[in-house]
Subunit: 285 residues, 2 copies
Amino acid sequence: MAAASHGPVVILAGGGALPERLARALQGRGREVRIIAFRGFTAWRLSRRADAVVDLLDIRRALNLLASWSPAEVVLAGPVQRPGPAAALGALASFRNRDEIASLLASGDDRLLTSVIRLIEEQGHRVSGIDGLAPELLAPAGVMSTVTPDDEQRQSMALGFSLLGSLSPFDVGQAAVIAGRRVAAIEGPEGTDAMLKRVRRLWGTRRLPKSHHGMVLVKTAKEGQDLRVDLPAIGPRTVIRAAAAGVNGIAVGAGRTLVIDPEETLQEAERRRLFLVGVSPRGAA
Amino acid sequence: MAAASHGPVVILAGGGALPERLARALQGRGREVRIIAFRGFTAWRLSRRADAVVDLLDIRRALNLLASWSPAEVVLAGPVQRPGPAAALGALASFRNRDEIASLLASGDDRLLTSVIRLIEEQGHRVSGIDGLAPELLAPAGVMSTVTPDDEQRQSMALGFSLLGSLSPFDVGQAAVIAGRRVAAIEGPEGTDAMLKRVRRLWGTRRLPKSHHGMVLVKTAKEGQDLRVDLPAIGPRTVIRAAAAGVNGIAVGAGRTLVIDPEETLQEAERRRLFLVGVSPRGAA
């Protein structure tokens, strides 16, 4: 069961607008696309035109569909809320031994998804990342906004990326807020929005006094991160919440961060006078 | 103005019970103690018997007192809420140039306190740490509680200390919560109590599912941290909030973490069946 080189791209479609945008991007590139929607997760509009709708935990059915379609590539897109431990245990039970499952559940979402990808690969399929299939959906390198970061803000950005680099070996969030040379927050499982809310509450208190230059939000994939498993994202809501928290600009890893709805994201940034920058892994924006 | 070798130990007394405990510990060791209380910060009981009460921002008066007492050692103890930027600026203005002050205010509390210590040292005084003057106030190495961590919890502890080690170069909190092999939270300027509250809200949600082994709180000073500037602390309240957040045990850096009210802290840990462990910088508890 080797991966077919001329078959369709199968999108395993989680929630949000990304799976549909990805499908459009792939069709624009002349690729044949098939969509497996997950009941209760995939957006209703996409589910209606999906080639199949399956239960998230019905791994065998999804694998059978893949086998019958002989896809050239398989791609995971859009978030899927993690099923409860008992449910995941049951679903994986016939594919993995008990110790392996218990070990997976004790670790982060990343290892759970990695295991799912490995399972698909074991069936002879090729699993690709959005970064390879449709790089136009990712943040470009350079300043995207009319506002540009000054030297001090660039220093905060560099500090932030260095911090995220140091955190790469650990299963933890991929974003942080830097105030001058100080770390105002590191994202945990709560996610970027909740982290920004926290900063908003702290900002201007004695614990996080305002400095004239405000703060920078940095977000990027971990070094060595399998982008098929987890691709950090920003969108219009990120900009709105960042501005509300006192953040003056956002720096993301170029080619390593999704920008959800780029036009609206940039518009919100312009409206709030935030800078928006994509930084290449090797350094300069 | 060299430091006198046989003069008193002068405690610059911030808030809380620590300055008084330190004074008792030093007197128990036969040291002569003088106390400078800061108006509005030092506990009322200690202020009454202090040798002088000064305004926090009246740096010149504090330095004049030190000069007249010729102390053998000076020690900072107990938290002092950071004054607002304008106030700090005014207080330091006659000792430091404007650029240096602006730079200090853009950075963390650590650098501000470091600058204050350097200023005292420039006057010829020796500034010591609580770890050197009264090490009995710090966490000992080994298991303090009757509950002991199991192998998996010890792995979480090791992961947590490794994480805090990676964060050492950055001006950020010195505590984290580990759930299995996953990082549940890293402390920012909000402090340990607020971080535990955050974990409490996340614990049991899909973002941080419960695992049978629960979580471990780790806390210690940064590698290379000047313990005169900042000494992490735990106390009874830490234990109570940790237990409420779903934490099963607390591991602190032995000799590098204050235990506020050790008897009550241990009692709370026993009552809630938490383990309490001091871990030496070189490893094993």
